[in-house]
Amino acid sequence: MDNLNSYLILSAVLFSIGTIGVLTRKNAIVVFMCIELMLNAVNLTFVAFSRHLGNLDGQIFVFFIMTVAAAEAAVGLAMFIAFFNNRESIDIDDANIMKW
């Protein structure tokens, strides 16, 4: 039981770090890494619960998340390169065309 708690606490800490990173940092790549951190924090929770409940579903879910995260990284980096080619910057403050 203690074990599960410590995993969940670690996961919560990682998730919070990730969230704060996404909310405060301006460099797009750092923001992106923070999103990955959040995803992996969730993964940790899944695995911990899976182990605790003796059910493999959570671990299988983690595989899917990792796959999606990999695809997201590929697409995301391609977008940053396209963005950089246009704006000479990867600062997310510069991505503001939606503004009226």
């Binding site: 909310l23 405060t24 997310i92 991505a95 503004k99 009226w100």
Partner: protein, 667 residues
């Protein structure tokens, strides 16, 4: 041996794939031409071997189904990739592969230096492949695949010079008119399959199975509907009234194409199909009468147009339509063997005529090009006296012309006379017989006239080509002349395969080989006909008399042409000015194209324009664009709620999550 029958269509398919895919890289004309010709020649050799095996069998066993694999199998419906080898398909395979080989060789010379040489040979091989499927398939569906395939190749080859608008228009016209016919073919197939299955629980589209169950079909009624649908298909493919107008326009294609597809093989597919389904056609007197009347009318109608055309290929085109009419006349009076016989002899002499005209055009074009003249190389008014420049071409052309005119001893005489005799003597249509015979006889008179008019205008008289060009006229190279000689030989002697009994007896009992050979195929239809009609007995004297009449008719036609175009060339001009309306109507092909334009084409275009401008642009595009406009208007308003800063959104999201989670935690 029969198991190898699939090789026959396979060789041209391989030739098509090699030339079609690699031809652009090969570039060398000799290699491309050799591949194309060898592929077809290999088929010919295989067909000859199959034929040898077939005649080795007893006559009543000469019908072999060879299944390669099961193609479609759904519920009661079964269609195999399978071939039917019987005298009819075997004869067709021999004619198709034999004439194709000759024309392929000719094309090496004729198409020399043309852009897209490889394309031409690829299409030509694809055509031979489709045609062989058509004649050897053992069920209606496989036949239809070939039927469509030859239509496609016809379209591609008519539009071979696609940068010329008239050529691409002619290709489209041929394709669309053929579609009308194909629609009939499909409806016929569906009705046949459905009706036989529903009423007798016999689910089949295989020819031999259908023939075996032929007695299940009633006389008339549903059979009339089915066969009329099939006949509509035949009128499209074989250029009969009312769907014939595409064939003269198809002359826009290169001349070897006109010879192979639009004279010798593809256009006879309708005749073959009726022969193949003879057991069904014979069971509907109404359809048989329709076939006979349409055939007779087409034979006469096209012949009248042929008398006034000046383009050498157009005369031959109308002549082809007219001769196809003869074949349908034969089919319609129940003389199936005679129809197939004329198909065969016509293939020889008409291919020879077309290739000969190609040689003339080739030479004319070359000579006119030398003197930088823009005169039409196909217009007979620019020709004349070519005999002394092209003696071999003249000789072969004359042989084929004599054959088509029906002079005794040459192939056309035997087949045409057989048709006329059967039209007169066959009891199927009662009192209509005399009328049918009269139509055929008039067409024969006109045939002899316009063909010799063509020969006289082209090869005899004074040379009317632009001054200075005549010294550039010359005989064609060997690769063109040798095919002409081969075809001319068969145009002369091809008739001896089917000598009528009357003449055969006179010369010590020469048997009618073709009739003996083909009789098992038409046995069912013949038996039905004998059981249901009174066999009228005609005396030998009458048959001799009619034969004499048709010879006289041919001689009169030739003499009139000689009088008008050799002895006194002024008469045609006087005649034209005396009957200007008649001449204009005939010269303009009785304005059939204009009538079709007015009745069918223009209303279709108007309807299309209405649907385009009215429905598509206003309604369909209006809805799509309207949706987009509404969405944009909303977006224009809602965008004022946006800051455009990503972490504003991120903060909002995070805050929202906290609120939602908090709500569930503390509620």
């Amino acid at each position: 041996m029969f198991d190898n029958v699939w090789l026959i269509p396979l060789f041209p398919l391989i030739g098509f794939l090699i030339n079609g895919l690699l031809g652009k890289k090969i570039k060398n004309e000799t290699i491309i031409g050799t591949i194309g010709s060898v592929a077809v020649f290999a088929s010919f050799i295989t067909a000859v071997m199959i034929f040898m095996n077939l005649i080795g069998l007893p006559a009543n066993e000469r019908s072999v189904n060879v299944k390669i694999f099961s193609w479609i199998s759904a519920g009661n419906f079964n269609a195999d990739i399978a071939f039917l080898i019987d005298p009819l398909s075997c004869l067709m395979m021999l004619v198709v592969t034999g004439i194709s080989t000759v024309i392929h060789i000719y094309s090496i010379g004729y198409m020399h230096g043309e852009e897209g040489f490889y394309r031409f040979f690829a299409y030509l091989n694809l055509f031979v492949f489709s045609m062989l499927l058509l004649v050897s398939g053992n069920n209606l569906l496989l036949m239809f695949v070939g039927w469509e395939g030859v239509g496609l190749c016809s379209y591609l080859l008519i539009g071979y010079y696609f940068h010329k608008k008239s050529a691409s228009d002619a290709g489209k016209k041929a394709f669309v008119m053929n579609r009308v016919g194909d629609f009939g073919f499909l409806l016929g197939t569906f009705t046949l399959f459905w009706w036989l299955g529903q009423t007798h629980d016999v689910w089949t589209i295989q020819f031999t199975e259908l023939a075996k169950n032929a007695d299940l079909f009633p006389t008339g009624g549903i059979v009339t509907i089915i066969t009329l649908c099939f006949f509509l298909g035949a009128t499209g493919k074989s250029a009969q009234i009312p769907l014939y107008t595409w064939l003269p326009d198809a002359m826009e294609g290169p001349t070897p194409v006109s010879a192979l597809i639009h004279a010798a093989t593809m256009v006879t597919a309708g005749v073959y199909m009726i022969g193949r389904m003879s057991f069904l056609f014979i069971r509907s007197p109404e359809t048989m009468l329709t076939v006979a009347v349409v055939g007779a009318c087409t034979a006469l109608f096209a012949a009248t147009i042929g008398t006034a055309q000046n383009d050498i290929k157009r005369v031959l085109a109308y002549s082809t339509v007219s001769q196809l009419g003869y074949m349908f006349l034969a089919m319609g009076v129940g003389a199936f063997t005679a129809g197939i016989f004329h198909l065969m002899t016509h293939a020889f002499f008409k291919a020879c005529l077309f290739l000969g005209s190609g040689a003339v055009i080739h030479s004319m074009h070359h000579a006119l090009h030398h003197v930088h003249s823009h005169d039409d190389a196909q217009d007979m008014r620019n020709m004349g006296g070519l005999k002394k420049f092209m003696p071999l071409t003249y000789l072969t052309f004359l042989t084929a012309t004599i054959a088509i005119a029906g002079i005794p001893g040459f192939s056309g005489f035997f087949s045409k006379d057989e048709i006329l005799w059967q039209a007169f003597a066959n009891p199927l249509h009662g009192s209509m017989n005399t009328v049918l015979w009269a139509f055929g006889a008039c067409a024969a008179l006109l045939t002899a006239f316009y063909m010799f008019r063509l020969v006289f205008m082209t090869f005899h008289g004074t040379c009317r080509i632009k001054a200075g060009a005549e010294k550039h006229l010359h005989e064609s190279p060997m690769v063109i002349v040798v095919p002409l000689l081969i075809l001319a030989f068969f145009a002369a002697v091809g008739g001896y395969f089917g000598v009528p009994k009357l003449i055969g007896d006179l010369f010590g009992g020469i048997p009618n080989y073709l009739e003996h050979f083909l009789s098992p195929v038409f046995a069912n239809a013949e038996a039905y006909m004998h059981a249901h009609t009174h066999h009228a007995h005609h005396s030998h004297a009458l048959e001799w008399g009619l034969m004499g009449t048709s010879v006289v008719i041919a001689v009169v036609g030739i003499s009139v042409a000689y009088m008008l175009y050799m002895v006194n060339p002024d008469i045609p001009k006087k005649f034209t000015s005396a009957f200007p309306v008649l001449h204009r109507a005939v010269y303009n092909k009785w304005y059939v194209d204009e009538i079709y334009d007015f009745v069918f084409v223009n209303p279709c275009k108007a309807l299309g324009r209405l649907l385009w401008k009215g429905f598509d642009v206003l309604v369909v595009d209006g809805i799509v664009n309207g949706v987009a406009t509404v969405v944009m208007a909303f977006g224009g308003v809602i965008r004022y709620f946006q800051t455009g800063q990503i972490y504003n959104y991120a903060w909002t999201m995070a805050f929202g999550v906290v609120v939602i989670v908090g709500y569930y935690l503390f509620k």
